[in-house]
């Protein structure tokens, strides 16, 4: 495992961090005396480089190997078994590419954001964006429980400032709430991590998995209230808050509504995925029996989230809050797929994470375009926008339809696979599928309501008649998102192939571990 050469994963991970150095060294003022134009280009350049590097990694990724690839391990605190250890497998590869794809888009969308020009401090803004990317990539790559925890917490800091400095009216409240809420959850996770690490004598995830597979490390399981279940819940609550699983969602609308556009894009695009990823990475393989035992319960929360989230979404009058609430419903599908505990469900869940990142990120992008022009998020302030900006209306419709799960676009493939997995699941079954599928109707109800209110009808507000056309940055990010939407919708095989072997192996391990105890 220990390798002296720098792996490609390390390059991807550190590119955003290295990008901070030139940003720190650059002059505050540009040649024209205004803010330095080059901050944003530098940030775009480094996040773009990370994207390209991650594409190379994906292209050279051996899809038939279920194990860890591009692994790098450096001893750190050997006395208690903590090491700098990263690697990529079928579960994380797509999420890493998602992260590096979303970040340049978020940065490019910041080019046109008036709030950054108004409040200034562009240097700091882009430093936080790059730091955030670094931390999120770290979460997806970490193969050491301790490192995972550090990266997990570090993601909070830049996001806290992004909301707190460049956010809307109640930004401080939202930022503090976001920070405290997530912190509170992760304290339980820290305890669980310490318990696991001390019992195993190492914090290295592959080593712990090895111990569990060989039976040398056993977390006693005797039902839903036993050591293993408590450990499972310790992790789960931290992740549940991040996802968020109903009813832990209360921070989400605040954070989204107050965050600047790019912050919302990253929040919906990647940050919410950290939680679901954590469940797949830790909760399932480390505590398979507990996962089995708790699956119907968590899946019930997921189904409630799907229906409740969609229902609540429909009543929103703030377009950003509407999109934020829709995430609760969408992420419910992801959790349902994970706790189907079969290959189909988990693969669907991972794909749906990518889909949600793309589609909801895209929704926030077009909401941002509207906000830049009218400086309001009130749905009633719009109407008939499709007539004024026909191209923008068309692009937005496509993104909205993808979020609604129109077949042929990405959202459908994920939802379909998850729902199919849930019906054939060893833990769930018909009624979970039946109620979750109702979400398909409800998502059409709120998405079409939003689209109609904003884009259709006659122009009722005179100001809307003179909206500025799309700028090139806006067109670029919307088109980039749409290309991926159609690609995944028509050819998801590429994506399923990347994750297939890893997920299959994991699902087998979980179910065999669970069945040995149950019988």
């Amino acid at each position: 495992m220990v390798s002296s050469a720098i792996s490609l994963s390390t390059v991807v991970l550190f590119l955003p961090l290295i990008g901070i150095i030139p940003l720190l060294l650059m002059r505050e003022q540009g040649a024209d005396g205004h803010g330095n134009e080059n901050f944003k280009w530098m940030a775009l350049g480094f996040s773009g480089a990370a994207f390209i590097a991650s594409l190379v990694m994906w292209a050279t990724f051996n899809a038939s190997n279920p194990g860890l690839q591009f692994a790098q391990q450096i001893e750190w605190i050997p006395s208690i078994g903590i090491s700098f250890s990263i690697g990529v497998d079928g579960i994380s590869i797509l999420l890493i590419v998602l992260t590096t794809f979303i970040m340049p888009i978020a940065i490019l969308s910041s080019f046109t954001a008036h709030v950054i020009h108004e409040r200034g401090r562009e240097r700091l803004y882009y430093i936080f964006m790059l730091l955030l990317e670094f931390a999120m990539l770290g979460v997806f790559m970490a193969q050491d429980l301790f490192m995972f925890y550090i990266f997990w917490e570090v993601t909070l800091v830049p996001m806290y400032f992004l909301i707190g400095i460049w956010g809307a009216e109640r930004r401080i409240y939202a930022a503090v709430k976001f920070f405290l809420y997530t912190m509170a959850g992760s304290i339980l996770m820290l305890l669980a991590i310490l318990y696991v690490g001390i019992n195993a004598g190492t914090f290295s995830l592959p080593a712990i998995m090895e111990l569990i597979q060989t039976g040398k490390l056993v977390f006693p399981f005797a039902g839903v209230f036993s050591t293993q279940s408590f450990l499972f819940l310790g992790f789960l609550i931290a992740f549940a808050i991040k996802v968020p699983i109903w009813p832990f969602h209360s921070w989400l609308p605040d954070a989204h509504v107050q965050s600047p556009t790019a912050g919302s894009v990253v929040l919906a695009g990647v940050l919410l995925k950290l939680g679901a990823y954590g469940i797949i990475r830790f909760c399932l393989p480390l505590f398979p029996q507990a996962a089995h035992a708790w699956a119907p319960f968590v899946a019930t929360l997921a189904v409630i989230g799907i229906i409740y989230g969609a229902w609540v979404t429909y009543a929103q009058t703030d377009v950003k809050k509407l999109v934020a609430y829709s995430s609760i419903s969408h992420m419910g599908f992801v959790i349902l797929g994970i706790f189907a505990l079969n290959t189909i469900g988990i693969q669907g869940a991972i794909l749906q994470m990518v889909n949600h990142g793309i589609s909801t990120g895209g929704m926030f992008l077009f909401v941002g375009v509207l906000y830049e022009r009218r400086h309001t998020k009130d749905i009633a302030a719009y109407g008939g926008i499709w007539k004024v900006l026909p191209v923008f209306g068309g692009l937005s419709l496509l993104i909205a339809l993808s979020s609604m799960g129109l077949p042929g676009l990405n959202g459908f493939v994920g939802e379909f696979t998850i729902l199919m997995g849930s019906l054939g699941s060893p833990t769930l079954g018909f009624f979970f599928t039946l109620f979750a599928t109702l979400g398909v109707i409800l998502s059409a109800v709120y998405i079409l309501y939003m689209y109609q209110k904003v884009f259709m009808g006659d122009v009722t507000h005179e100001e809307n008649n003179h909206l500025e056309g799309l700028r090139w940055q806006e067109t670029t990010v919307l088109v980039a998102v749409i290309v991926v939407i159609i690609w995944i919708g028509v050819q998801p095989k590429t994506f399923f192939d990347s994750m297939g072997p890893t997920v299959t192996q994991m699902a087998q391990n979980i179910n065999s571990a669970a069945s040995t105890v149950l019988r």
């Binding site: 700091l124 290959t343 499709w386 729902l419 019906l423 059409a444 309501y449 028509v490 095989k493 997920v503």
Partner: protein
């Protein structure tokens, strides 16, 4: 000949290319080129469909499966044995649908070039039309249920786009249009929920979603049903073209497959049955047949169900889907509202093609429905009830398009009922003939509306002595709205019409032909198809085999017979109100005949409405079988619809139905004829004619039986209220504000204050102050390079990160 099935790829890509071209360069092309582009795409597709038709005839109806180029599977999860490919199917059913969709589609493209002339979004209209063709063709050519679903929702999207085509009309009209669009999509989504559930259950029952696999035999041989028809067919003369198949007694029914872009290959030796194929390698229908035969138990995790029950559940979910798309009770309410779209759309999507998708799906799944007796009964009842209910509402409408919309709902009810009584062939037959005459009627109504609108403009101009204004060019913006007048004028209201027969002769004659065909007058198309459905229900009543299916047959027969009478009545009422008597408005008085690009499709469709029925004339009537081969169409379909069967002609039923239709026409003529059609608002001659209860009968129909109001009261409104309650009270005021901010937030602050006074101030504060002064010192130093409060934060964060990295790297460097 062997390469022919591969052409099916073209039939999809041609409209797609038309769509893409019109989308990107259309606006620069101008009206003329843009419409030529769209129409050419539709007509080329029709050409391909015709080639596929000749292929099937020439190869002995040999079904083929084609993998389109460029695409590498679709939802393929190797590790979980999920394989749902992009795969196309050429068989008699799919080619029938292709011919109807592209044939009627081409005519409607031509018509639209005239009808949409001058519209601000002319190009976009053709863009949408081509996109619609693309999705509709995916729907009918897909070889698995999920591809069908792609088309199914895709046409739903196009329907949304086209109903809401005039979403920006002023004075709230645009809002109403977009409401109609949204309503259509949501009602359809409810149905889609059913389709999805059916698909999930199918997958876990059969492990696949393919209709049939390559190499499978798909005709009636499979079930041991006698299909004498297959032998009498024209396949004989062409079959020897393929040497190795001619030897096979099954007329070469084995499917061929095309791998990639190559030549289609015969997928293995030709057998007369599927016995040699393991169950798991069959498509859903083959497996279902076998499981039914073996009384298979299907296991779903912890419990298992007999296959019959599973099929009932699957088909019930499918039925829900069909009630959405094919506008049946309870989900039909979107279709009348869908008339907000331009009239060519009503003709193409909401009459001839898209709305028949539900019927297509059920006919495609005939194996399931055949083996699900309970569902079949429910299907028959729903179809027949819808037919009579919509027929009744139609006779109380004043809007020319609303009458046709309810008529469409009613006729779709006939088709659905036909599926319910097991007459899949008759359902498809009625689908085809209905496509002809209902498209004709809708296009005719468009021509009438167009004429009245122009008449309105002409009258208006004459009155105001306007000059230099070409009303013809400006009309495109005028549908369904009022430009110049202070008094609203509705060009679709039949009370504003009358006497148009002389003004618009071609429209008039073709409209009457369409009406007679729809009313089922001998020997026009509707007579044959409607009669076959009636005969089949009647026979089902006698030969149903069980109480349930007999009951279904009789109930359907009685309801449908009454519905047929209603059809003739409301259609002739329309003819009287629109074309006869004298003009009841200035607009109608000045209405000109439409342009040739609009009348030409009317003429073609009128010819089809006259002769279309002869594709499937029964065997024992007036010696027609000597001219047209008997049961031609049913036999053709038997190669893909296993349980399609031709019923013998029932002269008695035919005469009763015909007599009823003629009587209804005379009744309508006596009530509405000779200028009795009133243009007094809210008053219909029917009310005077039936002194007792006439007002009620008409009023209920006019109020559309209050479906919309009840939906609003019992579903929409509670849903909205609940949504508001959940969002504002439960989620925000309780969970967000009270629980989190008050209970947790304030509680935390309270505890911390208790801790703060004695604990903190005494001990910890001192410590923190020291730390604070250190930080202060550092920040003072920082201000030399950086200014501002938040930056300090940022730099300390950065320092922290750098510190972490140093700690990370140091141990490695030491070694």
């Amino acid at each position: 000949m062997e390469n022919y099935p591969s052409l099916v790829t073209l039939i999809l890509f041609i409209p797609l290319i038309g769509f893409v071209l019109n989308l990107f360069v259309g606006p620069r092309l101008g009206e003329r080129l843009s419409s030529i582009l769209g129409t050419t795409a539709a007509m080329l597709s029709f050409g391909v469909a015709v080639l596929l038709w000749t292929y099937l005839r020439g190869s002995g109806y040999e079904s083929a499966v084609v993998n389109p180029p460029f695409l590498d599977g679709w939802i393929q999860i190797g590790s979980a044995n999920v394989s749902i490919p992009w795969q196309l199917r050429v068989d008699t059913l799919s080619v029938t649908m292709m011919l109807v969709v592209t044939g009627v589609g081409s005519l409607i493209h031509i018509y639209s070039a005239g009808y949409m002339h001058g519209d601000a979004r002319f190009t976009r209209f053709f863009t949408y039309l081509n996109l619609f063709l693309f999705f509709m063709l995916i729907l009918v050519t897909g070889n698995n249920f999920l591809m069908m679903f792609v088309g199914w929702e895709g046409v739903g999207l196009c329907s949304f786009l086209l109903i809401g085509f005039w979403f920006d009309r002023p004075n709230g009209v645009g809002w109403k249009n977009s409401n109609a669009a949204r309503k259509a999509m949501i009602a359809n989504r409810v149905g889609d929920f059913g389709v999805l559930m059916a698909v999930f259950l199918m997958f876990w029952t059969f492990g696949t979603l393919d209709y049939y696999r390559p190499g499978e035999i798909t005709n009636a041989e499979l079930t041991g049903h006698e299909t004498a028809s297959a032998v009498s067919e024209g396949g004989h003369e062409a079959a020897p073209a393929e040497g190795e198949h001619a030897a096979a007694p099954a007329e070469g029914e084995a499917a061929t497959t095309t791998e990639g872009h190559g030549t289609p290959e015969i997928a293995g030796p030709v057998f007369t049955d599927n016995e040699h194929i393991p169950t798991a390698q069959l498509g859903v229908f083959g497996q279902a047949e076998r499981m039914v035969k073996e009384n298979h138990q299907v296991s779903f995790g912890s419990f298992s169900l007999p296959i019959d029950t599973v099929l009932v559940i699957i088909t019930l979910f499918m039925l829900l889907g069909a009630t959405g798309k094919s506008a049946q009770i309870p989900l039909f309410v979107w279709l009348p509202d869908a008339m907000a779209g331009p009239t060519p759309v009503s003709a193409l999507i909401h009459a001839a093609t898209m709305v028949t998708a539900g019927v297509y799906m059920m006919c495609r799944s005939n194996v399931f429905f055949f083996n699900a007796e309970l569902t079949s009964f429910i299907v028959a009842i729903i179809g027949a009830t819808t037919a009579i209910m919509a027929g009744y509402i139609a006779l109380g409408q004043w809007d020319i398009k609303k009458v046709l919309a309810y008529s469409t709902v009613s006729q779709l009810g006939f088709m659905v009922a036909a599926v319910g009584v097991g007459a899949y062939g008759a359902a498809m037959f009625h689908l085809v003939t209905h496509a002809f005459f209902k498209a004709l009627l809708f296009l005719g109504s468009g021509s009438v509306i167009h004429g009245v609108e122009h008449g309105h403009h002409l009258a208006h101009e004459r009155a105001h002595d306007a000059h230099g204004h070409d009303a013809y060019d400006a009309h495109g913006d005028a549908h369904g709205e009022e430009h110049h007048d202070d008094h609203p004028f509705d060009p679709q209201d039949m009370r504003n019409m009358g006497g148009l027969a002389r003004k618009m002769p071609i429209t008039f004659i073709t409209y009457v032909i369409g009406t007679l065909a729809l009313a089922g007058i001998f020997p026009l198309a509707g007579f044959w198809s409607k009669d076959e459905i009636l005969a089949d229900s009647w026979l089902k009543g006698f030969e149903g085999g069980s109480f349930l299916s007999s009951a279904g047959g009789f109930i359907a027969f009685v309801l449908l017979l009454v519905a047929a009478g209603l059809t003739a009545f409301y259609m002739w009422r329309q003819i009287e109100m629109v074309f006869f008597g004298s003009a009841r408005s200035e607009a109608a008085d000045h209405a000109p005949e439409s342009v040739f690009s609009m009348t030409f499709p009317l003429i073609v469709l009128a010819i089809l409405s006259i002769f279309g029925g002869f594709i499937n004339t029964p065997s024992n009537v007036l010696g027609l079988e000597n001219i047209f081969t008997a049961h031609n169409f049913t036999e053709w379909l038997e190669h893909s619809i296993v349980h399609a069967h031709a019923a013998p002609f029932q002269p008695g039923i035919a005469l009763v139905a015909l007599g009823l239709a003629i009587a209804a026409i005379f009744a309508a003529r006596s009530i509405y004829g000779q200028g009795k059609s009133s243009h007094v608002a809210d008053h219909d001659p029917l009310i005077d004619r039936i002194p007792s209860g006439g007002a009620t009968i008409f009023g209920m129909a006019n109020a559309k039986l209050h479906w919309d109001e009840n939906y609003f009261r019992f579903i929409e409104n509670p849903f909205n209220k609940m949504s508001q309650f959940l969002a504002n009270t439960v989620d925000w005021r309780f969970w967000h504000d009270y629980f989190h901010d008050t209970v947790i937030g304030k509680g935390f602050v309270g505890i911390s204050q208790i801790l703060a006074k004695p604990v903190d101030l005494g001990i910890i504060d001192g410590l923190v102050n020291d730390v604070g002064s250190v930080v202060k010192w550092i920040s003072n130093r920082m201000r030399v390079v950086q200014t501002g409060y938040v930056r300090t934060y940022a730099v300390s964060v950065l320092l922290g990160v750098v510190l972490v990295i140093v700690i990370l790297i140091l141990p490695a460097l030491q070694r």
